[in-house]
Symmetry: C2
Subunit: 240 residues, 2 copies
DNA sequence: GATAATAAATGTATAAAATACATTTATTAT
DNA sequence: ATAATAAATGTATTTTATACATTTATTATC
């Protein structure tokens, strides 16, 4: 690591102060029409019994993304889930335990019954975004910021789909958008707009869990989306 | 800082490894129809003579935003300029000098002649985004990421205006959008769309620097924008 | 003081997209 | 066979986007 070429610069590096760096994960799930966030009750002081997001310090030999993926895997047992850096929380006084910078990372999980159980065996709980209890440190702010980001991004990118199973119905997607944006959409217009994008692949299966008639299952055509995205297309299901 | 209540947690904090944290600033300016980024030639080893963004280590007693503002002030002599966190660069191998995490922050400056001179007295230079020379470390990637963010954000928020003087003309704004998105707009439709938002305040002054007839100067009505923004309005001047 | 030169400003017709709105359909349970 | 339930569908109207060419205000020059 310490090449003699870097001698001059080395003084600069040596003079600088090192700081604790952590990641905190804001993990969203869509549970039967309700948007939830994963949290756990701290079992040690300080703040024992308080709700907290899941986090970890960043080690010397890992990037912040790697640290966040490690945390996500430890708590959910899942890999390859949607995750994106939110922002840095670096107020000098944010953590009374020590000066510590935290990188917020938000993640989106499709909450099948299996996944829901997995997370709960790890001692975490899914809390509804509405009526969220108080969280430790600046974790409340992190959730608020992540929610805002999720809304802004879901407005113009198909990331909302990460909260649904790979195979989903149109009424499910509408319900997700209605919960996320706290709006009601006309079923005819929502469906028309969605199908006009020509990015849903209709399957021969129906989901009959919520009606006798059953609703057709669809998959999203990511290949087609990525091709068009590079040509300036943007995914949007409503205007105002 | 070290309250006995935090004793248990303290072990955890003490066990964690501290890391060098820096900020690097991607400062954009719009110079006579051309989008530029501020860089300087390193005067010390390593990478002496190579182009680099402007950065600094984050000190124990400042947040990352404060560090970035400090750097921006040192290099431009300006305060209150638009700045937003971009993302964290934390690859273990990104800096051969030492393990160091850097937070990219991008900023937008209105390049009056005064401001242009100010930055240049500090030894920095404005480089055109097109044909950008190689930059040290991952700074090239930072500029690419910042440009993408700028485009995505300027698409739906009026941040492009931060690159123009407070008083600007419609042809200036069109030229900015054309440069930023590498598109050409019809002057009639651009103006019509822009004015239909009802967010420009026309002044009684004209800017005659680029035509004999002169173009009317306008200011952006931020109060009106902020009010409507909270009601779901989004600023957008073109569709595809 | 007439003329040339220059970029700014303007209007209309057509096409596309968004919105508002009510009925029929497929299926299961009784 | 009937009732119950949510899924699926069509049309008319309004709004927004697009395509496209001429006139206007001003300065510099002859």
């Amino acid at each position: 690591m310490h090449n003699p070429l870097y001698q001059l610069a080395q003084n600069k590096y040596d003079a600088a102060q090192k700081i604790l760096v952590a990641v905190d994960c804001i993990i969203f799930g869509f549970d039967d029409g309700v948007l939830k966030v994963l949290a756990f009750k701290r079992k040690v002081e300080p703040f024992c019994g308080s709700w907290s997001l899941i986090g970890s310090f960043v080690a010397e030999n890992e990037s912040t993304d790697e640290a966040a993926k490690r945390v996500l895997f430890e708590i959910t047992g899942l890999k390859n889930i949607f995750m994106e850096e939110l922002k840095t929380y670096s107020s000098v006084t944010r953590d009374p335990g020590a000066r510590c910078i935290s990188i917020g990372q938000y993640a989106l999980i499709s909450l099948s019954k299996k996944n829901k159980k997995l997370t709960e065996t790890h001692g975490a709980e899914w809390l509804s975004i509405i009526d969220l209890p108080e969280l430790v440190l600046d974790h409340q702010q992190m959730v608020a910021d992540a929610l805002e980001r999720l809304r802004n991004k879901a407005r113009f990118y198909p990331i909302g789909l990460e909260l649904l199973p790979k195979k989903f119905t149109i009424p499910q997607l509408q319900s997700l958008y209605e919960e996320l944006f706290q709006l009601l959409f006309d079923t005819r217009n929502f469906r028309k707009k969605l199908l006009s994008l020509n990015m849903l692949i209709q399957l021969d299966e129906k989901d009959k869990t919520s009606s006798k008639k059953g609703a057709y299952l669809y998959e999203f055509d990511y290949d087609k989306y990525n091709t068009l995205k590079n040509k300036g297309f943007n995914f949007s299901l409503f205007k105002s």
